[in-house]
């Protein structure tokens, strides 16, 4: 067996910035102590991935992140044999690597994965805490430090993409949403490197776009988009152009909606 650490394992050395909005840190820590799996629900760009990175740092565990997609097979998660010269070599998939290393395994947008793929996590998420690797003839027993975290966005609404109850009921769930305005302004100021007053204006703009959900935009501007705008401003762009580039055009392709969000940007930040 290959003794090198798996390439997908990351060790987070310095504290990733995270501003809690509720008791999510305490809940996550309690779940970690009790070896429970955690489900993060929330719209895109509200800080789910950052939260997991922050918790991996806090708990001093390595982190494995897998972005799920509809072509993700069980083999992609668990592992496969590769041919190396005249030999065959077993290569752990990210999930198996995380189990072996006692890491936090984070399956981002888990509903995007195929249903048969999602099932491999079942034996890891009940009292058994094992990962059977059929091809390799191995039954991996998860160490205490292994933790499974999955996320999904309930706002996408597609009936073809929902978690089955048998999967869903294996998790402690945490609800994420865009943080309250004052916290979000702190986040945007700190992550974007701009002053607080400007960040507050960006947040107000973000909140306005969120009222347009369902009216041309699928979701309003996420905290991530606001941070992008802030970063562009910090690079010397005018707030108006930054808002149009990072927010208006990112939210929709529909010309009238882009124009309307542009109107909002211009209302908050005068065009130069």
């Amino acid at each position: 067996m290959n003794a090198r650490p798996h390439a997908c394992l990351t060790h987070i050395a310095s504290e990733p910035y995270y501003q809690p909005a509720g008791d999510e840190i305490e809940t996550f820590e309690a779940a970690a102590r009790r070896q429970l799996a955690v489900l993060l629900k929330g719209p895109t760009g509200c800080g789910k991935t950052r939260f997991v990175e922050h918790m991996a740092w806090r708990l001093k565990r390595p982190l494995v992140t897998v972005s799920c997609h509809d072509d993700l097979t069980t083999g992609d998660l668990v592992g496969r044999y590769l041919i190396l010269g005249q030999e065959t070599v077993w290569l752990d998939g990210p999930l198996a690597a995380a189990v072996r290393a006692g890491a936090i395994c984070y399956l981002d947008e888990v509903v995007e994965a195929r249903k048969d793929t999602t099932v491999v996590i079942h034996p890891l998420t009940d009292t058994r805490r094992v990962l059977p690797i059929d091809k390799h003839g191995e039954l991996l027993v998860a160490p205490e430090d292994f933790m499974l975290v999955v996320s999904y966005n309930p706002g996408y609404q597609s009936v073809l993409k929902e978690l089955k109850p048998s999967t869903r009921q294996r998790f402690v769930a945490l609800d994420f949403d865009y943080p309250p305005a004052h916290i979000e302004a702190d986040i945007v100021a700190s992550e974007g490197g701009i002053d607080l007053e400007l960040a507050q204006q960006l947040v107000r703009l973000g909140q306005m776009t969120r009222a347009l959900k369902g009216e041309g935009v699928d979701e309003g501007a996420s905290t991530r988009l606001l941070i992008h705008a802030a970063q562009l401003i910090a690079e010397g762009m005018s707030p108006n152009s930054a808002g149009r580039a990072a927010i208006a055009r990112a939210l929709s392709d529909e010309p009238e909606v882009v124009a309307a969000v542009g109107d909002l940007v211009s209302a908050v930040f005068p065009a130069q």
């Binding site: 590769l82 041919i83 309930p154 609404q157 009936v159 107000r204 009238e256 309307a260 930040f269 065009a271």
Partner: protein, 690 residues
């Protein structure tokens, strides 16, 4: 190129205008056109051809006027002619006219080319119509979804539901001024400038004198403008500042942001008026307390009908609360509020061109009126009050019995509801065709989008046969073969194949046919169904359509518009056209019945989509309010247990009060404007199933 002779033009015109009902000879038109230069002839023929596809009579009218138009003393360019024709067509589209009608309505634009050209030449002018979507989104965003916009004459004002903006603005920066005015009206509402407390200060006793209102409007315009400059500095400068006349500068207008600012200005306005000073010259915003009151009463009545706690707003004045409390039982109040609101909230078009479609707009009560059964519903209610609440079942169908959830008992009423499934009545045959023509461009767009969705293909890996070798599978197989020392069987599924995604989806649509949908909601529902059919036909999903209505638990009617297995043909189209507003909205029984139909389907995913205009409701007080909500919720839970997902699309502005409870927060859409239903419903469907 040489011009065409009349003898060459006549057959072309004949071919183009053969469908024209006009009996006038086409020879004269051909003679007229023969006098024009070739490029003008070409332009006229091109547009005649375009118009004749949908409006043959109109094509004739345009041809007949072409010569006079091109030979007017001031001259006419082909671009101007094209713009004129497009304006006529847009006008016709806005009137919703099918082929053949609406000639009268067009005649204004047809006969007033000069007026049109003057209008067009006015380059400073910005029309509300051109900005309406952007302004709507803008105001929606500013007000967190509670305000919409409409165009109306008589200044800028809001009743707490809509912001009324002028049909057009002229002068420099007109576009930005539109946004600034809309933002100002939103601030007026959100900063408490229209609250009851302010009104009572202004009124004192009796109606506020017009000088008091004038002063108040002026002071408030100042206050709000300053507030706007702080909150949205990007647009406040589009409006010039109104300064107080210097001689009264000792009475400075209050600039505070909250309701205390409005209150202080209300007091100041009374003092100024009492001091006998002449009224101020300018203000941006009008104040119409009657409209605001009507809006509040509507809200109170609806809230009271739902048995909900009223917003705090209403607890400040006792009179208001009394009215609201009575609202639940008394239909008179609802009607009264409707009349009161008519002045403030009925939509009206621009002064020069009132369009029939807009003037047809119902008051908000009508559009959302759970309390107001229109048409037959209302008539039956009167009969019912005479002592007979039994609804006669239709003779043709056998009753199916369904249980109903009674939250007071915390148990089902067994076999309580009698449901009759009957075929929907056929309506006007040409209606669907006319709608398809009317929305031809939209339908084309929908088809293209849905084709892209259908075309979603994927690689199926590990196939026994296929178009390409699955390299991963080969490597896997070889590796495993070697790892096991050649003892195991070698994997034979080494190919991949591209395949269409099997969607395996069955959808049932449940369309509200209650009395309150009468008018444009019903039209919008039918048009939405046409769009949906076009969309889903492209996708190939199995779908069925049912209309529902009812009158008490003894008579729940389900009108079958389209079966899952039925093709989208003439019979279905006629039944879609025949959907009409009937009685009430008892939602539980149809949900239960359609769920059963869905459960029998072989498809893997099952979806029930409701198009409605309001909360569950039925004759009598029982189903209205909590009972109906709880029963509907229970029926939807039952559906979910059997694997049927549900989704609701509604035009009820107050849907956010009860739909999250019924469908879950991500499973409904509220459309601010019923007219957007046909446009939006396909988008919603696409989001749901992709």
């Amino acid at each position: 190129m040489r011009r065409r002779f009349a003898s060459e033009l006549a057959p072309t015109l004949d071919a183009l205008l053969f469908a024209s009902p006009s009996h006038r000879t086409k020879q004269r038109v051909a003679d007229d056109l023969a006098a024009l230069p070739r490029h003008e002839q070409d332009t006229v023929l091109h547009w005649a051809q375009v118009i004749a596809q949908t409006h043959p009579e109109l094509a004739w009218q345009v041809c007949a006027r072409a010569r006079a138009a091109f030979t007017r003393p001031e001259g006419l360019s082909c671009e101007e002619f094209t713009a004129w024709v497009k304006a006529i067509l847009a006008d016709r589209d806005a009137h919703g006219g099918a082929a053949g009608d609406g000639v009268k309505a067009d005649s204004r634009l047809l006969n007033d080319l000069d007026g049109f050209l003057r209008y067009r030449a006015d380059s400073d002018r910005v029309d509300f119509a051109a900005l309406s979507r952007r302004l709507g989104l803008f105001v929606r965003a500013l007000s967190a979804g509670s305000l919409s916009v409409q165009s109306a004459t008589g200044g800028v004002w809001t009743d707490g539901e809509r912001v009324n903006l002028p049909p057009s603005l002229t002068g420099a920066d007109a576009e930005r001024r539109y946004f600034a005015l809309a933002a100002l009206a939103n601030l007026q509402w959100s900063s408490g400038g229209l609250s009851e407390a302010v009104e009572s200060v202004l009124v004192g006793s009796g109606e506020p004198a017009s000088e008091v209102l004038d002063w108040f409007e002026h002071l408030e315009s100042q206050r709000l403008h300053r507030l706007l400059a702080r909150q949205l500095p990007g647009i406040a400068d589009a409006l010039p500042r109104h300064d107080l006349p210097p001689e009264i500068s000792e009475w400075r207008a209050h600039e505070g942001g909250g309701s205390e600012g409005a209150l202080a200005n209300a007091k100041l306005a009374r003092e100024l008026a009492a001091s006998g000073r002449r009224g101020p010259c300018a203000s941006y915003l009008r104040v119409d307390f009657a409209a605001v009151r009507a809006g509040r009463e509507r809200l109170a009545i609806e809230a009271s009908a739902a048995g909900r706690k009223l917003p705090n707003l209403f607890h400040s004045a006792d009179g208001q609360r009394e009215r609201a409390d009575q609202g639940g039982q008394s239909l008179d109040i609802a009607v009264g509020a409707d009349q009161g609101g008519a002045a403030g909230s009925s939509a009206s078009g621009s002064e020069e061109a009132p369009t029939p479609q807009l003037s047809k707009a119902p008051s908000p009560d009508e559009a959302h009126g759970s309390l107001q059964p229109a048409g037959e519903g209302r008539w039956q209610a009167v009969v019912g009050q005479a002592g007979d609440t039994e609804a006669a079942p239709p003779a043709s169908a056998a009753a199916l019995r369904y249980d109903e959830w009674d939250y007071r008992r915390q148990d089902y009423r067994k076999d309580w509801c009698h449901l009759y499934e009957v075929a929907g009545e056929a309506g006007e045959l040409g209606w669907v065709g006319a709608t398809t023509r009317k929305h031809a461009r939209l339908i084309k767009q929908i088809r293209r989008r849905f084709e892209a969705l259908r075309g979603e293909e994927r690689w199926l890996r590990h196939q026994i046969e296929g178009s390409e070798i699955d390299l991963d599978a080969v490597v896997d197989a070889l590796a495993e073969f070697r790892a096991t020392g050649g003892r195991g069987e070698i994997e034979s599924r080494l190919f991949c194949e591209r395949q269409r995604l099997d969607r395996s989806l069955a959808v049932a649509f449940m369309v509200d046919m209650s009395g309150s949908t009468k008018g444009w909601v019903n039209d919008a529902e039918r048009e939405a169904l046409v769009m949906l059919c076009e969309a889903i036909e492209t996708l190939g999903d199995a779908y069925a359509i049912f209309g529902f209505s009812g009158w008490t638990h003894r008579r729940c009617d389900l009108y079958r518009i389209k079966h899952f297995d039925e093709a989208y043909g003439a019979a279905v189209k006629a039944r879609i056209a025949g959907i009409e507003a009937r009685d009430y909205t008892r939602m539980g029984p149809p949900i239960r019945h359609i769920t059963q139909a869905l459960v029998k389907r072989p498809e893997r995913h099952k979806l029930l989509i409701t198009l409605s205009d309001g909360r569950p409701d039925d004759y009598g007080d029982e189903y209205r309010g909590r009972y109906g909500i709880e029963d509907t919720q229970r029926a939807l839970q039952e559906a979910r247990r059997t694997g049927v997902r549900s989704y609701c699309i509604t035009v009820d502005r107050h849907a956010a009060d009860y739909l999250p409870e019924l469908y879950g927060s991500a499973h409904y859409s509220v459309l601010a404007d019923p007219r957007s239903l046909p446009l939006r419903v396909a988008q919603v469907y696409r989001r749901l199933v992709s």
